[in-house]
């Protein structure tokens, strides 16, 4: 069935209540990415940059924490933990240094929001860092940026230099006698370092392996001192909250999932890219406004928040993309990385490749994940190559069940998600690989240039 959507005028509600993109989208962080030299301090200041910090620094630290908590901002890195509550867990008056560590190790397959954000608007993160360090009484913050994105590292280096020169960082940055140092730290290629305690070990110069909790980082984090670890987008969202008010923030999204966020549309869609919108928008709304799937194809499966979140099918087009809505539908909002695959894509191939990724990135610390991901890969490769048996499907489920919830950190849970969900929705396709002794799909038809080729030959 074809749904053709033409937008005439500002608002044309349809059966499901769709309105125009102008009404459905809410660019805040991305509001001036198209301005000349959007990454500079000058451009940022022209768009009310560092106004939120000015207001926050005039408030008592505890009041800032309470304000962010009241705003209802939840972590944008995947777990959705309330940001203000994380800050509140930092013990005060304990005599130890406090640290803020920004997790910019964006590596979850499908996730591509923090990297474009930092490339186009790095000062929003730096301003958020100033506010957060004031709130948790920290004088040293770190940005742990994944190393494989040198263009972003360049702009972060420059933005930090500008912020020091302008006095937002450095001596007395947070008030008389209250200095703030900010260190940009480039990682070296390890997905596991996106896990907050592995990130801390890595930042301490060790192999990036997760730590046992408790103690939680808020009590014993970096150098065993109280530490807040927040995602880039979470921290970068704070300045707008401080500047425009918690009521404004709460006017978007829902009671439990308020605010705006970046949705990253990718895959077989007509217009992949970043769509900043209030929480709770649906994939149908995003596809309707953006030109849908590529012409002539239909959605087969998609992830709501990266490969570690159980996949959805076209049954789930109307799931509200907020923490509760996606959770109730059996997945997780995750990083809002909406990877969309059409009917040309082999789900067994997709899951095999993700599983190879988890096996490659498993840090080796705990047995269920290290051994389990290895065996999942062996089984999946056999099935994909037409050498599998029917009993392998139950074995896959069983191994995934032995990883899920039984591994040291969430990497293992993430590895199990595509297995469980693909077997739930596409078991028949696995069986087809086994009975048909191979993959029934032609990978050439899934490529970005597949249909262009057809047009040329037509």
């Amino acid at each position: 069935m074809t749904v053709s959507t033409e937008y005439e005028g500002a608002s044309r509600p349809e059966a499901g209540g769709e309105t125009s993109p102008e009404k459905l989208l809410a660019p805040v962080l991305s509001a001036f990415w198209d301005q000349p030299e959007s990454w500079t301090l000058e451009t940022y200041r022209r768009h009310e940059g560092y106004e939120g910090a000015r207001k926050a620094l005039a408030m008592a630290p505890d009041d800032v924490i309470a304000y962010v908590k009241d705003a209802g901002l939840r972590g944008r890195g995947g777990a959705g933990f309330p940001t203000g509550m994380k800050w509140q867990f930092i013990p005060q008056g304990d005599g130890k240094p406090h640290y803020l560590v920004v997790n910019a190790d964006e590596s979850e397959p499908g996730t591509c929001k923090d990297i474009p954000l930092l490339f186009a608007n790095p000062h929003s993160l730096i301003e958020g860092i100033v506010i957060a360090c004031h709130a948790i009484r920290s004088s040293h913050a770190f940005i742990y940026l994944r190393g494989e994105t040198v263009p972003v590292l360049r702009r972060l280096h420059e933005a930090v230099r500008e912020a020091y020169a302008a006095g937002y960082l450095g001596k007395d940055a947070l008030g008389p006698g209250l200095d703030l140092e900010l260190t940009v730290h480039a990682g070296a290629g390890a997905y596991i370092c996106g896990e907050e305690t592995a990130l801390l070990d890595s930042l301490e110069g060790r192999r990036g392996q997760p730590r046992l909790r408790p103690p939680f980082p808020a009590v014993a984090g970096l150098y065993a001192c109280p530490t807040v670890v927040n995602n880039v987008e979470s921290i970068a969202s704070v300045p707008a909250i401080m500047n425009r008010g918690k009521e404004w923030f709460r006017s978007m999204g829902s009671e439990k999932s308020p605010g705006f966020t970046l949705y990253s549309l990718s895959g077989h869609v007509a217009n992949p890219g970043q769509y900043e919108a209030p929480l709770g928008i649906t994939l149908r709304q995003l596809l309707d406004m953006s030109g849908g799937m590529r012409p002539g194809h239909r959605l087969k499966f998609w992830t709501p928040g990266g490969s570690s979140t159980p996949m959805f099918t076209d049954e789930h087009l109307d799931v509200a993309l907020d923490y509760e809505g996606v959770g109730a539908a059996g997945s997780m909002l995750g990083t809002k990385a909406l990877q969309c695959f059409d009917e040309t894509t082999c789900v067994v191939r997709a899951v095999t490749r993700w599983t190879e990724f988890y096996a490659h990135e498993s840090c080796g610390k705990c047995t269920p994940c290290r051994e389990g991901t290895y065996w999942l890969v062996q089984l999946l490769r056999d099935i994909e190559a037409g050498k599998g048996r029917m009993t392998d499907l139950d074995k896959l489920n069983d191994i995934a069940d032995n990883i899920n919830g039984k591994s040291f950190c969430a990497l293992g849970d993430g590895a199990a998600s595509p297995i469980f969900s693909s077997l739930k929705y596409f078991r028949a396709e696995y069986e087809q690989h086994i009975t048909g002794k191979g993959c029934p799909f032609d990978p050439a038809k899934s490529t970005a240039w597949a249909d262009k080729h057809l047009e040329v030959n037509a």
Binding site: L153, E158, A190, A270, P295, A385, Y425, T447
Partner: protein, 295 residues
């Protein structure tokens, strides 16, 4: 296992020449000063020694150990954990093709296969002229620009097999190559220096390729009332309420396969992803000769 050699252990790695050592020491002290705990400087220092020699050598490991008061074993343990530290001499240009699921499906697998054939090298191998090291990489946070190729960790977005072959030909011929997002290419060693925390000093490097790329801006353009390319003949599944009247297959059933069942692909589809050598299995590894695994 009786023919195990119990001879002299390998001698410590040679040091850098005095002038190199003095220069690197000054850099290393600057890096270490950025952290409350010195060991935090280890990852940047490994990037730094890589900027000197193009890969992490035994000499580089010794240097890091001495600067941070660690053992070479401790440094080796860290350097082998992270994929960005190269373990052998490699090319000036590291060409990484994303073959994680989304890019692979969108054409990354085809690009990687064609580049292997075109260059005559396998995964993590270098062309004979020492210019290009080819490898497949994991998701690089640019899925809205798939398929993606990285050269020295600059973004080359929306690639095709032809554009990727042109790219490596240009790199090998020394013709200037511009990323879609990022600065004009420098060598891998220069890139490693930026990663060590020393900002790129080249004129125009920060500004290069302008603001956000086209995909990063689509939502903003829509919100401003602009039209996106692509037309309106798109296909989106019916709402739940309409599903009963829809002729489509019931939820959960696979759609009709595109190819004929039973046609196995000619090669194993994922066989390029063999595990990397461990130090125990790699006699050339900077940690030096090690005991056989399992002894």
């Amino acid at each position: 296992m009786t023919d195990v050699s119990l001879g002299m252990p390998q001698l410590p790695a040679p040091d850098y020449p005095a002038d190199v050592r003095a220069r690197l020491e000054a850099d290393a002290k600057e890096v270490i000063a950025r952290y409350p705990g010195s060991r935090s400087a280890l990852l940047p220092l490994l990037h730094l020694v890589q900027s000197e020699e193009g890969h992490v050598t035994r000499t580089g490991i010794r240097f890091c150990a001495e600067m941070l008061d660690l053992t070479t074993a401790e440094v080796t343990a860290v350097s082998t954990f992270y994929t960005m530290y190269r373990r052998k001499p490699s090319g000036d240009y590291q060409v990484g093709v994303c073959t994680n699921t989304l890019c692979a499906v969108m054409g990354g697998d085809a690009i990687f296969d064609e580049l292997k054939e075109h260059l005559g090298v396998g995964n993590n191998e270098t062309t004979a002229d020492g210019k290009v090291t080819l490898e497949h990489i994991e998701c690089n946070a640019a899925c809205d620009y798939a398929p993606v190729v990285m050269v020295n960790w600059e973004f080359f977005d929306n690639q095709t097999p032809d554009s990727a072959k042109q790219l490596v030909d240009d790199l090998r011929a020394g013709r200037p190559v511009a990323p879609t997002r990022g600065a004009p290419l420098c060598t891998y060693k220069d890139t490693a220096r930026i990663l060590a925390g020393f900002p790129d000093q080249r004129e125009g490097a920060v500004e290069a390729t302008g603001g956000a790329g086209h995909a990063s801006l689509v939502g903003l353009r829509l919100a401003r009332g602009e039209e996106l390319p692509g037309g309106t003949d798109h296909v989106v599944a019916p709402r739940d309420g309409d599903r009963r009247t829809d002729e489509a297959a019931p939820a959960g059933a696979p759609v009709a396969p595109a190819g004929a069942p039973g046609e196995a692909p000619p090669t194993h589809p994922s066989s390029h992803d063999a595990p990397r050598d461990t130090s125990a299995s790699d006699p050339h590894h900077p940690s030096g000769p090690a005991a056989e695994e399992g002894e």
